[in-house]
Structures are given as C-alpha cells and as structure tokens.
C-alpha cells in the first residue's frame, strides 16, 4: 500500500470526508469497472459503485489498516454485485457497452491486436460471452483480468480457497473457449 493511501485511510478512519473523497477518486474507476463487468449494465454498475463507497465509509471501523485496502473494497463491491444479480435474475438485460467504446475510433492508427478486438461488435461479443458464464465463474474471471489479481487475493475477495479459484478459472476459460475461438484467432500475434 502506498504511503499516501495509508495516510488517507487513517484520516478516513477519523471521519475526514475530504480524505474519503480523495480515496473515492483513487478507486472509483476500478470499482466501477469491476461492477460493470460483473453486472453487465453500466447504470447498475454506477449504483453499485456508489453503494460500495458509502458502505466502505460506514464500515471503516471494520477495516484492518495493516491489510491492503484494495481487496477489502473489491470484496464489498463484489458482494453488492452478487446481490444486484440476484435481484435482477427475473429481468435479464442485454449487456450494454461502456461509454468509452462508443467513442473508440481505431481507424486513424494502425490497429494492434488489442485494439482490433476493441471494435464495438467484437467487444460486445466478448462481453456477452462473459455475461453468459455462471456468476461464480464470471466473478473469478473478472477479478483475474481486471487488475491481474493473484489467486490468493481473488480467494480472499470471494471468501474461498485458492484451489477453488484455480478450478473455477480453468472451467470459465474452457467454457469461453468455443465462444471466443474465432475472435482469439483473429487477434493472435
């Protein structure tokens, strides 16, 4: 944990709202992205992100400052996402693209493999494929890729064992294999 983050967390623990505001600024993109990929809706993700930070503020007394902050807040966000998904089960929705995609224009420069797959249509296919995974597989996959989290942290966030993370991730990748085969082939270096 960075020194400035530690200092902020100490101030937040004392109830300093200004410090909390800075902390939110540090984590808001990551929390929103995590929520977006877990719930598949930008609007729901915004609500989840807001509630994540509000709950974090009021639960600061439960946060152990000797441990990293990121897994703690990701755990709150992930739990809220799972609640959101349970509530939404009765009303399935189509996955929407996050706003950066609508502005993405890769025609001006030579496309790298990563840029190639970020074309709207392809991107949408990948998002759809991820959303079709069972929730427990999707959670592991998203946590692994969104910030390259090690299995130990993913296990901590999801309250499970590293062996279980390894198994779920392997199965999630196997399930995606057929869906993403063609896209992956196009993007291979």
């Amino acid at each position: 944990m960075r020194v400035d983050e530690q200092a902020l967390l100490n101030q937040v623990k004392r109830g300093n709202v200004q410090a909390f505001s800075a902390l939110v600024n540090m984590y808001r993109e990551r929390v929103l992205r995590l929520a977006f990929h877990l719930v598949g809706s930008y609007e729901d993700a915004e609500d989840v992100a807001q509630e994540t930070f509000v709950r974090a503020y009021f639960s600061m007394n439960k946060y152990d400052p000797t441990r990293p902050f990121a897994p703690w807040i990701y755990r709150i966000a992930t739990n809220l996402c799972m609640d959101n998904l349970r509530r939404r089960k009765a009303r399935p929705q189509q996955v929407e693209l996050p706003p950066h995609m609508e502005l993405f224009n890769s025609e001006e420069e030579k496309e790298s493999p990563e840029e190639l797959i970020l074309r709207d249509e392809t991107h949408s296919q990948v998002l759809d494929a991820i959303q079709e995974l069972p929730e427990n597989y999707r959670a592991v996959l998203v946590l692994r890729y969104f910030e390259d989290l090690p299995y130990s942290e993913i296990a901590q966030i999801l309250g499970t064992s590293e062996a279980n993370v390894q198994m779920r991730l392997s199965r999630a990748r196997q399930r995606l294999r057929e869906r993403l085969k063609n896209i992956a082939r196009e993007c291979s270096p």
Binding site: F20, S21, L32, A49, P98, E102, I117, Y145, Y151, L169
Partner: protein, 289 residues
C-alpha cells in the same frame, strides 16, 4: 502427467500460479504433446482477448465522487436524527425533555420535511441569496431551497441540492444559478457555469435554462454548461430536449449538443466523461488543498 491433468492445469500455468514442480511437469508433457501445445496456444490467444476487454479503463461519471459524498452526508444526517429518539431522552429532566421534543418537531418540520428541496452537500463556501433575503450568505448543508434561491460558486466549490423526490442538482464550480424547486415544472436557471442534474422520472419537465437554450428532462441524467457565448448539454442517460427560439434537438445518452445565440442547437455529437469538457469540470471541482 496425462493430457487430461495437464489441460486442467494450463489455466494456472499461464497465470504463473503453479508450483515449480507442477510447472516443470506441465512443461515436460508439453514438450511431447502437440495437442496440448495447441490447447496452450488457444488459451494464450483467449487470454489476450480477455485482458484487452476486462483491463481496459472505463469512463466514470465525473460526479460519482460527489454523489458518494452526498449520500454519506445524507445517511449521517439520518443517523443524527435517529439519535434524538424519544426513548433515549433523559426522563428525569422534564424541561430538557420538553425542549428536546420541541426541537425534534422543529427539525422534522423544517429540516427534514420531505416537501422541501434541501442543500445536501457543500464543497467550499458557496454564496446564496433568497427571494426574501437578497444579501449574500454562505450556503450550508441542510438549508431549505425555495423558489428564487440563487447560488454562486467559486473555483473548487460545489453544492448539491436534492429535490423532495430524490432528484439531484449539482451546481458546479464558478457557477451562478437560480433554483426554482417549487415551480411546476421545477427547474434551474443557469446564468453561468455548469449544472449536473440526475432527475427522477416523476420530475418530467424539469428544466435547466441556459443563456442560449433550455434543457428539458424527458427522464434522465445530464449536465448543462454555459461558458462564453455557448450553452452545451451533455446527456449521461435518458433523453433531454434542448431547445431555443431557433429550434430544438432531443439529446440522448452519451451525446452532446451546443447552442449559440440566434442559432438552433447543434446536431448531436458523441461525448463521454473523458472528453475535454469533462476534464474542465474535474479540474475545477477538485477540493482546494
């Protein structure tokens, strides 16, 4: 190690999560098995695709932080109100009890009345004047906002007003605006600066009138900016009608339109919180150090 075992370990292998002994066994098998080599290559290609999608930064509404802080302050106010509960009061002191009950009634009627728009968050020291008191005072969290309340903010200052139905209007930095929460439809007159509004569906017809055009809500979240000789509308979700005497457009999510005097609002252009105007907002909305 057979193919079946290796396939279950390939995922952890590309993540570098196997023990040295396991990785060595997998590699020994891969040296001899072309099918498992193909499976590994496919997994690596898929890894590239997933990484590019899931690690790509996403656009964040620039006011997410403000909304979080507003919500924290609202819940703190609720908790504070709950602490004045009748049964916790010291019954041994009747005078204090009477005063506390009276205070509670006053607070309920004036401070927490669901029928009034209220200031729910303030950053810096914005100024306000009301229709009845035209002099300038400091705007404070909890203040009631009536028709004609004018708010002025400087660099780094912001104020959030919550309508009785939960709709929120954030008055950005370097802004001069007049709120009309009691009118039907309710709205805000933006003389200069930036207004962000997240409007509940029941506030249909809510408007923000800028110098060059008026934005009218069709159920949505948006911000309106009046700078120089132009008024620009950025819609985050839902739909907003953007009109002046020369014409109108309906602006949909993640689109913007700009109006200058004497000309109809421009056709829709794509936008996001990541474009330059939003950076302007962010820069001016950071707390003073």
């Amino acid at each position: 190690m057979n193919c079946r075992t290796v396939r279950t370990l390939l995922s952890a292998y590309i993540d570098g999560e196997l023990t040295a002994a396991q990785a060595a066994s997998v590699e020994a098998h891969l040296d001899q098995c072309s099918e498992c080599q193909t499976a590994l290559a496919e997994l690596k290609s898929q890894d590239l695709v997933l990484r590019a999608v899931l690690a790509k930064p996403i656009a964040v509404s620039p006011l997410l932080t403000q909304r979080v802080i507003s919500e924290v302050q609202r819940r703190q106010a609720e908790k504070a109100q709950a602490r004045f509960g009748f049964f916790r009061l010291p019954f041994a002191k009747p005078a204090l009890l009477a005063a506390a009950v009276l205070a509670l009634i006053v607070i309920s009627v004036f401070a927490f009345s669901p029928k009034s728009a209220r200031v729910v968050a303030v950053q810096g020291k914005p100024l306000c004047s009301t229709a009845s008191h035209t002099g300038w005072n400091h705007l404070r969290s909890g203040m009631r906002v009536s028709d004609g309340t004018r708010v002025k903010t400087a660099i780094g200052e912001m104020a959030t007003i919550r309508w009785p139905d939960g709709s929120e209007v954030v008055i950005g930095a370097q802004t001069d605006a007049t709120a009309l929460p009691e009118s039907k439809p309710s709205g805000v007159v933006l003389n200069r600066g930036l207004i962000y509004a997240r409007i509940r569906p029941q506030q249909l017809g809510f408007y923000v009138r800028g110098p060059q055009a008026t934005a009218t809500v069709l159920g949505t979240e948006f911000w309106l900016e009046a700078r120089g000789n132009a008024t620009s509308l950025f819609v985050i979700r839902g739909k907003v009608r953007f009109a002046n005497a020369a014409g109108q457009v309906v602006v949909t999510r993640w689109k913007k339109s700009t109006a200058v005097a004497g000309r109809a609002p421009s056709p829709l252009q794509p936008t996001s919180p990541l474009d330059a105007n939003s950076f302007w907002w962010l820069r001016h909305s950071q707390p003073r150090r």
